[in-house]
């Protein structure tokens, strides 16, 4: 599907000649000339403008009436005035109208200090109101949902939340009831607004009408600092801005990165933070003593772990996942391979694929990026449930269907494995066009037919010429948030960093379970994963495996089932707001985590623990801090060569794009 192409035009705004993309809306074009046109209802993320608030009225020469800058596309030679008396009077009157029913309770309003209505009143209002009648009253605040409070008196009826519900999340729950000055935002019959992306309306609200119940009254904007990072609770890896007060995350906001998340967050990502910084966290090292886990010193825990692992040596298996970074994966792989002489490590739940398949599926020319989902002619969702596995991609798919007429198909690997049904699938896809993206889940390759399914997927890609078509390709959703990064770092039984062969193959995840059960392996190292927590694992089998293991070393932020009942040593693990390091998005974008808050209690960084253990079993990994760990990773993976943390920056670097650039220069 054609991506928008933009020509640059010249127009005049407030006497200044300005260049801007043709047909961009005036409010956006004005920014190119450092002119700000105030808006309330305009939010390009929500789709077409509605022109409801009338705040952005401007004067355009040749048009008698004032026009809304949010809905007027800029044309070459247009002459616009935003500072004329006519415009100023109109702007002042809109502010006055909006404040008629808006309570002036800014000192006790959560939005105070970061409120567009406050800012615009200050910048474009007249400073006085002539309204002396009683204001509109509603019962307040009410629970719109368990996570969101609504104060209808503060609402300026800008329609943003309703449009989000109707046109972005498509949950169709929020509506405006009544008419005129009596209108209010509500749900049908007052049912709670429960939806996977509901929290975004809090961020969209330009006043204090919709507030987060978890954040309400916890901080004022001048008490807090913002810290940019990446949410690693699922493979979507949305960019977030963490609101931090006194070393605690108080709130999670979206940090716009259209290539990753389009500026939205799911409710899991937005509202998980109280638990991440909560009382249930493991904050000190624990060892099992008399059947019970009890706190010990770091020295004691490290010694206990080193002894256990050293005793098992190459009979140690390791699993990595959860929120583990590439750096941690690399250090774990080196601890295992170089320190313990064991090749038995895996970051995939499904088990290893032959190395050639890993390489073929990861072929740079075959990789689709997130924005391709939006513009593709067709998308095939294969063995994955985006709303569960990578929620934010669900919104992207909806956007593709709604705005660009993308054709959405769903299938399972069964259809791919049947010869006739696979052909039918390919036919249906090509009927829509050439730009086809296959969004597939790691579980496609699970089970006895996994390898065959992977080959069938590659066949399909070849049939559809995905590698040769721009805007087409495969996009895998791995089981773990950083599944792709861990594989690239070498956390696989049959390959080292960058899918290079290193010695003989080890056991994969199912193999490790089998090895522990039949006694071939005696120790297990769990980096951020618990095979008894999470539905992807064969938990009955792992229960038996863990029972047989004599040493189980786990990095855990919470005492989940497997850790609580089977770990012999538990290291407190960092949650993502405390981490530094890099992760790789499913579409190959390497992103940077930056530490936003201090470690709770005695928690230490994973790289420190892994380096210390390595020293105790006889090797020096030469890691001194997080940045050194990143440098080691960039040196170890061939296609990361030359990367720096600075280059990754706040928006990440897509390796496929980078490789193309490197190849060209």
């Amino acid at each position: 599907m054609p991506r928008p192409e933009q020509r640059t035009i010249t127009f005049t705004i407030d006497g200044l000649e300005v260049q801007a993309p043709e047909n961009s809306m005036l409010v956006d074009a004005a920014k190119h000339g450092d002119v700000e046109i105030p808006v309330f209802c305009y939010e390009p993320k929500l789709g077409n403008p509605v022109g409801a608030c009338r705040m952005c009225l401007v004067e355009i020469e040749g048009i008698p009436k004032l026009q809304t800058g949010c809905s007027t596309p800029v044309k070459d030679g247009m002459v616009v005035h935003t500072q004329s008396d006519r415009v100023k009077i109109a702007q002042q009157s809109i502010v006055e109208f909006l404040l008629i029913n808006h309570p002036l309770d800014c000192p006790v309003c959560d939005k105070g200090g970061e409120c567009p209505l406050q800012d615009i009143t200050f910048g474009w209002g007249s400073g006085v109101s002539r309204f002396i009648e009683p204001k509109r009253h509603f019962v307040k605040p009410l629970e719109l949902s368990p996570t969101i409070a609504i104060d209808r008196e503060r609402c300026i009826l800008c329609y943003r939340c309703v449009r989000f519900s109707q046109e972005i999340a498509e949950d169709y729950q929020l509506v405006l009831l009544e008419r005129g000055a009596h209108s209010y935002v509500a749900t049908f019959d007052g049912h709670p607004y429960e939806a996977p992306f509901s929290g975004n309306i809090v961020e969209l609200c330009p006043v204090g009408a919709l507030t987060s119940r978890a954040y309400r009254f916890r901080a004022r904007p001048w008490d807090v600092e913002d810290a940019g990072s990446v949410c690693t609770l699922c493979p979507s890896q949305c960019n977030v801005s963490l609101t931090v007060r006194d070393e605690r995350v108080m709130r999670v906001l979206a940090r716009d990165n259209p290539e990753v998340d389009d500026g939205w967050l799911c409710d899991r990502g937005r509202f998980a933070y109280p638990r991440l910084g909560g009382q249930e966290r493991v904050t000190e090292p624990l060892i099992r003593d008399g059947g019970e886990l009890r706190p010990v010193s770091w020295e004691r825990a490290l010694e206990e772990a080193a002894t256990g692992l050293g005793r098992a040596g190459k009979s140690t298996g390791a699993l990595a996942g959860g929120q583990a970074t590439g750096e941690e994966g690399l250090l774990l792989a080196r601890l295992m391979r170089e320190g313990l002489g064991s090749p038995h490590l895996d970051s995939r739940v499904a088990g290893a694929l032959p190395l050639e398949l890993h390489r073929a599926l990861g072929d740079p020319s075959l990789q689709a990026k997130v924005s391709d989902l939006e513009f593709a002619h067709a998308v095939l969702v294969l063995d994955t449930e985006p709303i569960e596995d990578a929620p934010i991609l669900d919104l992207r798919l909806r956007k593709g269907v709604r705005r660009h007429g993308m054709k959405l198909l769903r299938a399972s690997s069964h259809q791919l494995l049947g010869e006739e049904s696979a052909r039918e699938l390919a036919r249906e896809l090509t009927a829509a066009g050439e730009e086809i993206v296959v969004l597939w889940g790691e579980r496609l390759t699970a089970g006895p037919d996994g390898e065959r399914a992977a080959r069938a997927l590659l066949d399909l890609a070849a049939t559809l010429s995905l590698a040769e078509t721009k805007g087409a390709g495969l996009l895998e959703i791995p089981a773990h948030a950083n599944g792709r990064g861990l594989r690239e770092a070498g956390v696989l039984p049959n390959s080292g960093p960058g899918f290079e062969v290193v010695g003989e193959d080890g056991l994969d995840a199912p193999g490790i379970a089998a090895g522990l059960i039949d006694g071939e392996l005696s120790a297990l190292y769990l980096l951020g994963v618990d095979p008894l927590a999470g539905s992807d694992w064969d938990s009955a089998r792992w229960e038996r495996a863990l029972e047989r293991a004599s040493t189980v070393v786990a990095h855990a932020a919470f005492l989940t089932e497997g850790v609580r009942t089977h770990a012999t040593v538990v290291f407190p693990a960092q949650a993502y707001p405390e981490k530094e390091g890099t992760v790789v998005h499913p579409d190959g974008r390497i992103q940077r985590l930056r530490q936003a808050v201090a470690h709770p209690g005695a928690t230490r960084a994973e790289w420190w623990i892994l380096a210390d253990l390595a020293r105790r079993v006889g090797i020096d990994l030469e890691v001194l801090n997080g940045a050194v760990a990143s440098r080691l990773l960039f040196e170890a993976v061939p296609f990361y060569a030359g990367l720096t943390l600075e280059e990754i920056g706040g928006k990440g670097v897509r390796l496929e794009d980078r490789r193309a650039t490197v190849a060209h220069s």
């Binding site: 403008p49 509605v50 022109g51 409801a52 608030c53 009338r54 705040m55 009225l57 009436k65 004032l66 809304t68 809905s71 009077i89 109109a90 009157s93 809109i94 006055e96 109208f97 909006l98 008629i100 029913n101 309570p103 002036l104 006085v128 109101s129 002539r130 309204f131 002396i132 009648e133 009683p134 204001k135 300026i156 009826l157 329609y159 509506v175 405006l176 009544e178 008419r179 005129g180 000055a181 009596h182 209108s183």
Partner: protein
């Protein structure tokens, strides 16, 4: 000359039999049988017929704006006649429904649309029933359906009943409502001719406009254009109501003096009463005074006189009605009907009613009239659709033309409430008249010392009001 009301008093005209006996559907036969769509369009353009719904846009031009090509195109008849004082479409639909159906078929032939709707306000239950019955007859007779009279032109027609909202008479609000959504106006552009119903090109016309089409085809566009005056051709139905002796619908030729309609046809105000003011085109038109009675009743002349022809509904108000009551009635109607989508209309109509209530209850001063007038100015031209203007224009005109009566009303109400006369500083205008604005006020410096800043005296109370409003 009567075109629309030619046979209006014929008993049973609503039936196909009587309608055909009086020459009904001959125009349809002529248009579909002997003329090409371009020829029909040409006749419509030549007639210079201006839309009868309120905006007065040339119908032929509107038809020609529809893109050519074979996409799904729609014709929608706006029968949501909700403008206070307007009841001409009701009579047309109730008494001569086949004329509307015939007009729709001919217009759809010219515009190349194959699906059409009549969006009728829910309160018009009887006209809707009559339309349904007429539609069944027309279908039966082959005037609606596939391949009409063997011309190759097909048209479906659905009568859709609205749920009772003034805003659904606004064309884009109507489209949203017809699509099953909340009837809110849409942002224009895109205009319905390009993206209307279900995003397809859509022609929207009023009942009277479409009902005129058969007559134009019958007598020819050029002949039609000879009726009326140059920029307002043809005949027009006028709904006249209020304080007149013979209210009702009259078909007039555009351009006759307004006096002839109000006094000649409707008989003028009741015995012993004088006309105070009159709305020439529905309650959203600025009011005119008896001095304007000789203004010719056509689009441009009324525009020049500071008002508009609108829907052609004349409401006459005599001297028995206080102007404040009239303003209140108008403002309350539009407050009730504002959809709430855009700020100036939603808040402005509400604020205006609250100010009027204060005026009526004796808690206002003449200065509130200045605020009210300025609020009207802030609404006009700044809204998403014209509903806000529809209140602001008449209210603004009432304040401008009847200010002394408003002021007297304020003082009388204050007296009744025992509040005494309003502050001596009545309004800038009043002060200027007394020559007291500069001489009797303390110098500006002194005002500043009292914390009033550099506000003009007129704003003083407004600033104090901020505190009351915010508390």
């Amino acid at each position: 000359m009567k075109l629309l009301f030619k046979d209006i008093d014929e008993p049973g005209l609503c039936t196909l039999e009587v309608y055909e006996r009086r020459g009904g559907y001959d125009s349809l036969r002529k248009a579909l049988g002997e003329m090409s769509p371009e020829e029909v369009l040409h006749e419509l353009e030549a007639s210079a017929l201006r839309g009868r719904g309120g905006a007065g846009f040339q119908m032929g031009k509107k038809v020609s704006f529809l893109p050519k090509g074979s996409m799904d195109k729609y014709l929608v008849c706006n029968a949501d006649e909700s403008e206070p004082g307007t009841f001409k479409d009701r009579e047309l639909m109730q008494k001569t429904p086949h004329m509307l159906i015939e007009g729709i078929v001919i217009a759809s032939y010219a515009a190349g649309t194959t699906r059409s709707f009549i969006y009728i306000r829910g309160e018009y239950a009887l006209p809707a029933d009559v339309l349904d019955a007429a539609l069944a007859e027309a279908r039966e007779a082959g005037y609606i359906g596939e391949d009409i009279l063997g011309s190759g032109h097909s048209l479906s027609l659905v009568v859709h009943r609205g749920a009772g909202a003034y805003i659904c008479g606004e064309e884009t609000g109507l489209l949203d409502s017809l699509e099953g959504k909340r009837g809110n106006p849409r942002l224009k552009p895109p205009f319905p001719a390009n993206q209307g119903l279900y995003q397809g090109p859509t022609l929207i016309n009023n009942v009277e406009t479409l009902s005129t089409v058969p007559a134009i085809v019958r007598i020819g566009g050029a002949e039609y254009a000879k009726l009326g005056v140059e920029t307002s051709t043809g005949t027009k139905l006028v709904s006249i109501s209020g304080n007149v002796r013979r209210p009702g619908n009259y078909e007039i030729e555009l351009g006759i003096p307004s006096r002839e309609i109000i006094y000649g046809l409707a008989g003028g105000p009741p015995e012993g009463r004088e006309i105070k003011c009159w709305f020439p085109g529905g309650s959203s038109a600025p009011v005119l005074t008896p001095e304007d009675l000789d203004v010719p009743y056509d689009f441009d002349s009324l525009g020049k006189a500071g008002s508009m022809l609108g829907s052609g509904a004349i409401i006459v108000v005599d001297d028995s009605t206080p102007i404040v009551d009239l303003a209140m009635k108008v403002a309350k109607f539009y407050r009730h009907e504002s959809c709430g989508k855009c700020t100036p209309c939603r808040e402005g109509t509400n604020w205006t009613v609250k100010m009027l209530e204060r005026i009526d209850s004796g808690e206002a001063t003449p200065m509130d009239l200045d605020i009210m007038a300025s609020v009207q100015e802030h609404i006009i031209g700044n809204c998403l659709c014209v509903l806000g203007d529809a209140m602001a224009m008449p209210i603004g005109s009432m304040i401008a033309k009847f200010r002394p009566e408003f002021e007297a009303h304020i003082e009388a109400a204050r007296g009744r409430n025992g509040l005494g006369a309003s502050t001596p500083i009545a309004s800038d205008a009043a002060l200027a008249a007394q020559g007291a604005l500069e001489s009797e006020l303390p110098p500006r410096g002194e005002l500043a010392a009292h914390g009033a800043g550099d506000q003009a005296p007129g704003e003083h109370r407004g600033a104090a009001g901020t505190h009351r409003g915010g508390a």
